[in-house]
């Protein structure tokens, strides 16, 4: 220990007096030589002979000096620092090379860092609950009765339910507000393992009738509406016309089942109301696996419990949740995003691979030019390992420089990439460049530096000393090195083809989506959601009258054209579903469940406002009131599905709990209610429209919250303000929310494919740029190497055009080989992308041809510049130079 301290101190002292040390070593060895020389002189040799003899006996003085110096150093760290400084000087001396290489790497590393921060936030980071690995989602949907039955039966898990999207009016505290709420079983917070930060969360028993008039606030709502007043606990607030006592405030960042949830209320478990208990509030369940229980046991138990619980329903439910499963909660929540993120992460990985290949081939060219330097180093006694280490240090430094630039770039990429992740998924951590991502980028940089440095480094350390020094470092560079560089370029081109094909297919997809006829005309229409209080809609006629009055007064506003109201807007995300029986398709209870129809409640102007064509029969009008003959309009596809070849007019539809039938009076054009790509959920069998005064929702009441659809030339803000004022004057307890232009609704329905397309296009652009730079670099380098040959060709009569052709041919050959490989890979890899495509096949020949064309054009461009330079060679000079 003492020895170690002494030696550390001596080394530090030597470090501070480095020059002195170098001089001392030099002097010491010189003295030794002089003494030896004197000794030989004394034994009768001439002074010159004595000098030579002494030198001979002494051996490699430079190496010896280095060895002595080495003794005083702090081993590897100092060697690395020395190498790094040398590398820095070297890079600074060739700014062009450094810039191209560092930018190439910045593109690759930056893209990867950005994607990684998304993947990290969405796929890797655990959910913000204690022991998140024990949380599972029970897939399928469960009414309250089933939830209670499962809670009672299960031995392996503790089960909780949360009904999402329960919108609630908060009244009595300033302006009436529409809140996003969730009705939850009282044990939800226990299952998730999160407590209130103020007051208490719900406790077992809070969901029994008579004790359930409670509310729990989100931190955001507490701050926004209650001024973060701790005194809110115990106060009574009015939600949906029901007085509820505030029992607590949840901590910031807690959001379940969605991040946007403002308020939680207890589910009401009342077995005596069997329609409500078994028929209402179909929700997914979340559960915490009990300690020491494995997932397969949960699966088995769940299957048994489902079978047993199905018997408890007051009506037959033959196929209810037949394929329900327990899946880890985290997997369930990222299901939709995972595929997209993984495809993009692989794409950006390819970009990095291209960047590495590019830099490797640049380094190879440089290594050829630096052969002499390496040979001199070796001659001066640098070992093979030492040279290898130095060359690798250089490439790692370069790569770290690229990494720093890349992180800056990543911030830009992230702003686009965020659009990929659904807003406000539960428990998603914010996406940002945090320490983890920076560490990832640093690790990636070092790895890349080693990856693209190893080939040139191995070459350099293997250099044939004598041959290199004899030829002065020229001439020996060709051969294997050139072939290696060529194959790097072909690989780059192949990868660039794969990425560009992907980008092309996604562009075709987006183009296809933009040309889809959604079945309605969104332009110039504004939608606002109006949600009158439950009292207003207690009576069906009062509710209908409220909307009639509202629409009448809206028409009187200046600058407003057609006006209508609907319970759901196309592509807006709402799903007004009803189970029905269709004429001629009797429900045989034991065999199949009733078909579910998308059932929108609309007012008479609806089809005109949205320009939805009426193909047969009539639209709704003022005569379709509460008491007149029940009527319905079906979509063309629905009519075709249930009554092919028959006249749909006069056919009848019955909602399963109704006695009476509704008569079809019209057929409307098909509308894309769910998505532009037409991907409708399989369980939904069609679409039907009901006149608002006759319409019902799943709770069997008249739809209360409706979207006001207004055609208007005015700005969104102006119209919204005017309408808010108007609604308040008709009914002060009816909050207005979600003011959106329908164009925006349509375009944000494709925001995910759009973000994916832009990212892919950006990656492909980078890949093309890198491949072009790489091709240019290799072709111009090899052209420079061949200047003698070109001189000879020109001297024996080749034309300038021949030379240009020669160089272009070389560039074209690389790109064509690469393209062929790339097309083959793209055909194989296309399947990974096919689920993201719409209206285009993953093997679309037009896209493939366009991409190959693009690369050939790039190759010609990359070959033209060095080709022109070569063609301008002065043969006399070229022949003299070598």
């Amino acid at each position: 220990m003492r020895e170690w301290l002494t030696s550390a101190w001596l080394r530090i002292r030597a470090l501070l007096r480095r020059e002195q040390l170098d001089r001392d070593i030099d002097d010491e060895l010189r003295f030794h030589l002089a003494m030896r020389e004197e000794h030989y002189g004394g034994s009768g040799l001439s002074p010159a002979e004595a000098h030579r003899a002494a030198e001979r006996r002494f051996g490699n003085r430079a190496a010896l000096e280095e060895q002595c110096r080495e003794t005083w150093r702090f081993g590897r760290i100092e060697t690395f620092w020395q190498d790094a400084r040398f590398a820095g000087r070297l890079l600074a001396r060739s700014p062009g090379f450094t810039a191209v290489a560092a930018l190439s790497l910045a593109l690759g590393i930056g893209g990867n860092a950005a994607m990684f921060s998304l993947v990290n936030a969405v796929l890797l980071r655990p959910l913000p609950y204690p022991e998140p690995e024990r949380l599972v989602r029970l897939t399928g949907v469960y009414p309250k009765g089933a939830l209670a039955a499962l809670q009672e039966q299960s031995r392996t898990v503790e089960i909780a339910g949360a009904l999402p999207g329960v919108e609630l009016n908060l009244t009595g505290h300033g302006e009436a507000t529409r809140l996003v709420g969730s009705a939850v079983s009282a044990n939800l917070f226990g299952v998730l393992g999160r407590r209130a930060s103020l007051g208490r969360s719900f406790e077992p028993g809070d969901d029994r009738p008579g004790r359930d008039r409670l509310a729990l606030l989100s931190h955001a709502l507490w701050q926004r509406r209650f001024g973060a007043d701790p005194g809110v606990i115990g106060r009574t607030i009015r939600l949906e016309g029901i007085e509820r006592e505030v029992v607590g405030v949840m901590p910031p960042g807690f959001g379940f089942p969605t991040e946007a949830t403002d308020v939680w209320v207890p589910l009401r478990f009342d077995p005596s109301d069997s329609d409500d208990y078994w028929g209402f509030g179909w929700m997914p369940l979340v559960a915490r696996v009990r300690p020491e229980v494995a997932l397969p046991r949960v699966q088995d138990e769940l299957r048994e419990m489902i079978a047993r619980t199905a018997e408890l329903f007051p009506w037959p439910v033959p196929s209810w949740n037949a394929d329900a499963a327990a899946v880890p909660l985290q997997d369930d929540q990222v299901r939709d995003v995972r595929g997209r993120l993984l495809v993009l992460q692989s794409a950006v990985g390819l970009v990095l691979l291209i960047a590495c290949a590019n830099v490797a081939s640049l380094l190879l060219s440089r290594a050829a030019a630096r052969r002499k330097e390496m040979a001199v180093r070796a001659a001066l006694g640098a070992g093979r390992g030492r040279i290898l280490r130095q060359v690798l240090t250089e490439s790692v430094c370069l790569s770290l420089l690229g990494g720093v630039l890349g992180l800056a770039l990543a911030r830009g990429v992230l702003s686009v990439a965020r659009g990929l992740v659904p807003e406000g998924g539960p428990g998603f951590s914010p996406v940002e460049l945090d320490a983890g991502v920076i560490a990832f980028a640093a690790g990636l940089s070092v790895l890349c530096g080693l990856l693209f440095g190893i080939v040139p480094a191995a070459g350099a350390s293997r250099a044939d000393l004598a041959a290199t020094l004899r030829t002065g470092g020229r001439g020996v560079a060709a051969g294997a090195g050139a072939r290696l560089r060529g194959s790097f370029i072909a690989m780059e081109v192949a990868l660039a083809v794969v990425l560009t094909v992907g980008a092309g297919l996604l562009m075709r997809t987006l183009w296809g989506l933009s040309r889809v006829d959604p079945g309605f005309r969104p332009e110039g229409t504004l939608a606002l959601r109006v949600s009158p209080s439950p009292e207003t809609c207690e009576q069906r006629s009062a509710c209908a009258a409220f909307y009639e009055e509202l629409l009448r007064r809206t028409r009187e506003l200046s600058g407003v054209g057609e006006v209508a109201a609907a319970s759901a807007i196309p592509l807006g995300g709402e799903q007004p579903l009803l189970p029905v029986e269709m004429d001629g398709h009797p429900l045989v209870a034991a065999e199949k469940a009733a078909p579910l129809l998308w059932a929108g409640a609309v007012t008479p102007g609806y089809f005109r406002v949205l320009d939805i064509p009426l193909l047969r029969g009539r639209g709704f009008d003022a005569s379709d009131g509460e008491t007149s003959t029940p009527v319905a309009i079906v979509s063309a596809a629905t009519a075709q599905r249930y009554w092919p070849g028959e006249d749909p007019l006069g056919k009848r539809i019955r909602i399963v709990w109704d006695e009476g039938w509704r008569t079809v009076v019209g057929v409307a054009g098909d509308v894309r209610h769910y998505s532009l790509s037409g991907g409708e959920p399989a369980e939904i069998s069609g679409a039907v429209y009901l006149p608002h005064p006759q319409a019902v929702e799943l709770d069997r009441r008249i739809p209360r919250s409706m979207a006001l659809l207004v055609r208007s030339g005015g700005s969104t803000a102006e119209v919204t303000v005017a309408l808010r004022r108007l609604v308040a004057s008709v009914n002060p307890d009816a909050p207005v929310s979600d003011a959106r232009r329908l164009e925006v609704v349509v375009s944000s329905s494709v925001s995910e494919p759009r973000a994916m397309m832009w990212l892919f296009a950006a990656f492909a652009g980078c890949a093309l740029l890198l491949a072009a730079l790489g091709t240019y670099g290799v072709v111009s380098y090899s052209t420079a190497q061949r200047s003698y040959e070109i001189g000879v060709r020109l001297a024996v009569g080749a034309g300038r055009a021949d030379i240009l052709g020669l160089v272009l041919g070389q560039s074209l050959k690389l790109v064509l080989i690469g393209s062929a490989l790339g097309v083959a890979t793209a055909l194989l890899a296309g399947r990974a992308l096919s689920s993201f495509l719409f209206g285009v096949s993953a093997r679309d020949p037009a896209t493939l041809a366009a991409v190959v064309g693009l690369l050939v054009a790039t190759a010609l461009l990359a070959g033209y510049l060095p080709g022109r330079r070569a063609a301008a060679t002065d043969p006399v000079r070229a022949l003299r130079a070598d």
Binding site: I25, F31, G59, L64, C68, G381
Partner: protein
Amino acid sequence: MRDHRGDPGELLQGTLNMLILKTLSHGPQHGYAIAEFIQGTSLDALRVEEGALYPALHRLEVRGLLASEWGVSDNNRRAKFYRLTAAGRRRLAEEAGYWARVAAGIARIMETAEGPRR
């Protein structure tokens, strides 16, 4: 670097360190004199290569077993003189004792006429 293998009189590093320490126990000396002393005293049986001597001197110095200062040699040249430190003296004593035991052991093996019993 030159290949020293098979060179007669080549010294193992540990042994060289010990010989340097022993040489310097007679008083401060520069590198050349140390090499000459070892070679001369061993009657040319041991030859010290410069390539081994100087790294060894510097290693011993870094470890605090030797100290050095610049002085003037017999023929009036500036030379770096090494001397033993207290730690160096202790190390020499340890190594000398160890060496004596090993040498005696080796000598006994070499001088015994009988081989191991079968």
